[in-house]
Amino acid sequence: MLKVKINDIDIEVEEGLTVLQACEIAGAEIPRFCYHEKLSIAGNCRMCLVEIEKSKKPVASCAMPVADGMNIKTNTKLVEKARKGVMEFLLANHPLDCPVCDQGGECDLQDQSMFYGIDKSRFKENKRFVPEKYMGPLIKTQMTRCIHCTRCVRFATEVAGVPEIGAIGRGEDMQITTYLEKAMESELSANVIDLCPVGALTSKPYVFEARPWELKKTETVDVMDAVGSNIRVDTYGWEVKRILPKINEDINEEWISDKTRYACDGLKYQRLDVPYIKKENSFKKISWQDALQILKDKINVTKPEKIAGLTGDLTNMETLFACKELFHKVLKSKNLESREKNIYINLNDRKNYLFNSEIKGIEKSDLILLIGTNPRYEATMLNARIRKSFLKNNTEIFSLEDLGDLTYNYKVLSNTTEEVKKIIENNCDISNKIKKAKYPLVIFGESALTLNSSKYMFEGFKKFLNENNKITEEWNSLNILNTNASAVGSYDLDIVCKTNETLEKINKNFFEILFLIGQDNISINKKSEFVVYIGSHGDKGAEIADLVLPGAAFTEQNGYFTNLEGKLQMAFKASYPPGEAKEDWVIINEISKLIDGNGLFKDKNELLTAMNSHINSNKKNEFSNLFKEEYINEKILTLPIDYYHSNVIARSSKTMNECRNIRSKLKKTGTEG
């Protein structure tokens, strides 16, 4: 510990901190533009000048390591004068266009110029003009406003792992640009908008939409993937205007993926706002009462075993639980399924379907093995952590399969089950490496768990890791990477068909009534069955439906989601369902009320109590017997993910469509050469 004096207050700080960090601990706020905790130190904006005793000149505190006995002053005349000088230079070439700038109201430069700005400009020369740069469909540039803090450059190279942004030219002619003005090929690109302390990089889809002080802010969680990034949803009336990251060091740090951020305009389009019934191949609007009556009549004449239900990828746990109770208690059917594919799942222990090492744990791992997963597209934020670990610990990363650019280097093994067999039979180098590693990470993707030998691989790996003490209280190295936001929640509520044949039967058109509760991702070859779709968007599910009941999206109802690590988080209501649409659990409750006279739950509290007691009840399942343990030599192929189109909200989003088109064009022409 070092003893320093900050503004005449004695404090002790850890070694290795910078003066700026020490000042923050002491409660002295330091203005800054280029410094950012998560990025490397550049020290080029000079806004953070402080006075240090025995130093003749003011010192840039962000780049100065703290030393024992330093006497730091942040509130002297000299400091203020120095900062004012810096600010004057920064403003010399900065346009006075705050009224038409999207950053207005949340702009670091604007805020700090309130304290350090001078009322008029002494700069009589012509201001610099910098042409706009193309940076893809998400980032709008207005480079005249740029103050060259290089935060975006450092973010792209360090965190995103796509060194495509740089500063060209020199001196007054310095410009920030992407290489030859190409779109940034990263799923994290839009984070540079948050990083930009001025209005040089702003959000293209959100351009001139609203001012920050007009928006209602709701802190909630994201459902685009199973990571459960913490977000802030900004709404203006009904409409979700934008989504911003909320800091959660355990999950997403300060970043979110582009899909999380920009799929929100999908909440505006393709919405279902009234119940529809299919008549003569076209949808007709009907009232809720009639719709439910039709459903009731249909259910009354159908045998329970001929009724099946599929829950979706964005469904919250309340709805899942209500569905479970509806099928279990009211419809008396056992055919409720949450999986889209026949994924191997062992529900005996929660550890069998979680990312046990936790996202935070990735940072300390020293070996990572990817089996049938492409984390870049399946869990972008998790991939960013792997990159962080790669940069920090030089983690050795292996993948069974060549996955293209993952933003870090990895070694490719062979993508066969034989390779896995060799590893778990302790027959190759990797086995030894795993044994030697202190914190190894084995990540199973869903693609690896749909094979015939899934059970053999998973249970085999568990045995191998157990034998070598890699699954302990402290560190559990066996991980499953789920891709759907609702996956872990569904498993917690054990919404898995006990006979494991629902999907097969659906394909064989065995059922007469099929409930699709927000399920849009599987294609069903529909014949005579009566399909009821409950959900928010008119997509694949609604298309084949006979009866459409409009539900709410994740921003329009309070609902729990469990992320892939098993963290229970609540998505809060930021907006309300459009038109006559209702919250999902209410719809389920009304259906049951209609059928057996009284609803499943009186109110949401009753539902939550019942759900909690269900989750906490010590249940024993015999699910593991569902799957045969067999070994077949087969290829493990990671199923390609249509990243920008992976769920209904993203598919309805114009921004995501545009991103997808640009990405596919890039692929076709190729950026190499």
Binding site: T157, P163, E164, I165, G166, A167, I168, G169, R170, G171, D173, Q175, T178, Y179, L180, G673
Partner: protein, 202 residues
């Protein structure tokens, strides 16, 4: 100086010649293992020499791959330094120093000569396409101001008439004699040494 413009006409491909490739490999060895990106400036210069005194984008990509760094890193370096040309220049590339000492001694008169005889604007070709000119900052020959650099040679102590003669030679594809045009040797005084005459070693 404004931001250098990258030529719109770009060759599709660039590769080091065999000779330059072995030279490039040698240059890379000058730096410690894992630090080969430090060779970027030397390699850019090599590429410029090989490619008629300018660096095409293909060469930047080639160098980026050669040094295993990103394209933008090479691009940043190439746009930063004024001695890298990013668009084609004439076979005779004239750089006129217009920094203060040369300016005081009449550098802008030399600029006018270029405007009259070569092209109205900087970085444009002469009629026969074998010559282009540009203004540059100090070339470090203030003692023999005003001066101009043509390709790799310095032409010093110029006056308008002499410079016109030089340019006329160049336009006829004839290389004029480099050095001082007042008969000085390097930067020595014009006639004899004026100071330290007794000191033999000076």
């Amino acid at each position: 100086m404004s931001l250098k413009k990258v030529s719109k006409d770009q060759p599709d491909k660039f590769e080091f010649s065999e000779e330059n490739l072995s030279l490039a490999k040698k240059i890379v060895l000058n730096y410690p293992a894992g630090k080969k990106k430090s060779a970027v400036m030397a390699l850019l210069y090599l590429a410029q020499k090989q490619n008629h005194n300018w660096i095409p984008l293909a060469a930047m990509k080639y160098i980026a791959k050669f040094l295993e760094i990103s394209y933008i890193n090479v691009y940043e370096v190439a746009t930063f330094y004024s001695m890298y040309n990013l668009s084609p220049v004439g076979k005779y590339f004239i750089q006129i120093c217009t920094t203060t000492p040369c300016m005081i001694r009449g550098a802008y008169k030399l600029v006018d000569v270029c405007k009259k005889n070569i092209s109205e604007k900087e970085n444009e070709f002469s009629d026969k396409k074998n010559c282009s000119w540009t203004e540059v900052e100090c070339l470090g020959a203030c003692i023999s101001a005003p001066m101009a650099q043509i390709n790799e040679d310095y032409y010093e102590d110029l006056n308008v008439k002499q410079f016109e003669g030089i340019i006329k030679d160049i336009l006829k594809d004839k290389k004029p004699k480099p050095g001082s045009y007042r008969g000085r040797v390097n930067s020595e005084p014009e006639k004899n040494r004026q100071t330290l005459t007794e000191n033999k070693n000076a």
